[in-house]
Symmetry: C2
Subunit: 321 residues, 2 copies
Amino acid sequence: MSSPTLKGLSPAELVARLRQRDRLALARVISKLENRDSDCAELVRQLFSKKSRSRTIGITGPPGAGKSTLVDALTVKYRAQRKTVAILAIDPSSPFTGGALLGDRVRMLRHAKDEGVYIRSLGTRGKQGGLSHASREALWALEAAGFDRILLETAGVGQTELEVSGIADLTAVVLVPESGDSIQMMKAGLLEIADVFVINKKDRAGADRLRKDLDSALKLPQDAEAAQNLPEILLTQANQHEGIDELLEALERRLELLQHSGVAQARRETSLLQEVEDILIERLRASVRESWKTHSGNDLKRDLAEGKIDPISVADLLSGN
Amino acid sequence: MSSPTLKGLSPAELVARLRQRDRLALARVISKLENRDSDCAELVRQLFSKKSRSRTIGITGPPGAGKSTLVDALTVKYRAQRKTVAILAIDPSSPFTGGALLGDRVRMLRHAKDEGVYIRSLGTRGKQGGLSHASREALWALEAAGFDRILLETAGVGQTELEVSGIADLTAVVLVPESGDSIQMMKAGLLEIADVFVINKKDRAGADRLRKDLDSALKLPQDAEAAQNLPEILLTQANQHEGIDELLEALERRLELLQHSGVAQARRETSLLQEVEDILIERLRASVRESWKTHSGNDLKRDLAEGKIDPISVADLLSGN
């Protein structure tokens, strides 16, 4: 089980160890996925399986809403129920909001001796569109390692939070009374992705107003089915562990509901189709970059730079059109 | 020149009008690029040209750094020099920081009667990786319309600011004394993309400390060529129009330098290669989505959902491997 013995293991062997909950193997596999190592494809093939008992809960919301504290409080409660928990923190490393997930180290220390908790952050700075791809595959690794609940926490900047809803089983949007009104959220597409709303820091002025505002917005005329599945709105004070029991119950209730209604399965299917697309795009990028290095690619590059050919025509030539 | 006459015009005709500075044609072309209309490819072919007198200056920095005010102040100065200016505001619409560019309307009113200023914002919510693609092509439209300077302003969230440096001729990073220290910026990759640093709101405490800190960070051991081309650091107070003349001079000086050193040409070439890649990726996405609708695609979808085949194998089949 010691680290050196992982050297030279094939993807199949690594994944076999990971399925036996070998943490070093798990860490190695996730790192390979994060770095887009050459054996990613084989790892994904090995990790893929139809069924999983794991459930992934996406936790998203603006920086400063208290997502990490909330994730921490939920972890404690899940552990009290003897459920194992993996925390995957997605950090798109926006140049201007970096360090949002630095609280990680504190958390790691707190749960360091608990074998039932695994904490990992994931970032792929500068790799366009690659973060949700790597995150999706990392989730599969955590599922294969058998964690009961996976808490997928975002930094709350850029497009990541919308992407996260495409790979989680359920998405909780965490807000604070200062987060603004429902019209802004509607504009941003948050009402569409939220299965559960959490208003954290509920002691602050405006918490109740936000709840009422959200409540009315959610009840705007919609079809009967949607009306039945309105997101619940929970109020918490994560740093005081207030409202966490109720939140956990709401999350579990919603997971159950999504399972029974078939929505859970539909979401997994959509995510799988997206995975196929992401794989093909990754291959395309690599192949385009290779093609510039060939003799004819080099000629094309020169003609393009000299304005003798336009980029659409180059694309046509590269794709054999 | 009136709007209805644009109906039924071919891409070539639209671009011909745009080159004659018809604003309605320009607006129409940019909208088509933003919406990824089916005639984008033909538009790009028509817009593409080897040479352009236009220079694009990317203005990036955290929300609240005063980028819009700065862009406005620069516009006034450029107009005093009889240079025409287009402002392209890139808004990735992060769900939690939306509305950063709402100041647009105020600006539009201010410059409404000036034919030498064109203001436009661009957003493609939820379209992964599509924003820098559409922005690059919109820049070509503005170049074809003959603007002397294009100010490309970002909302300062997510990865957009790093992507912007890949499509602008020059990138100015706007900071405020509260923006943090150079180590954070180094980590975020900002030192690599900045051609010019602007410390705005220079009256605030810490402005001089940030300048010194940046200055030392920039002078860390590096090769001789890099040492010659260190970014300048300018201090401004945009809302008082202080330091704007000096900033404009520094920007122009740097544009000149990049031109003479060949860096400008190299950047344009890299951006062209990225454009080819973006075109191919966009086509791939469309073709994958089409393929799910075919008979065999439908079978694959079902097998994937049922766990009978893994996503890597599906990708292999779709790409004919």
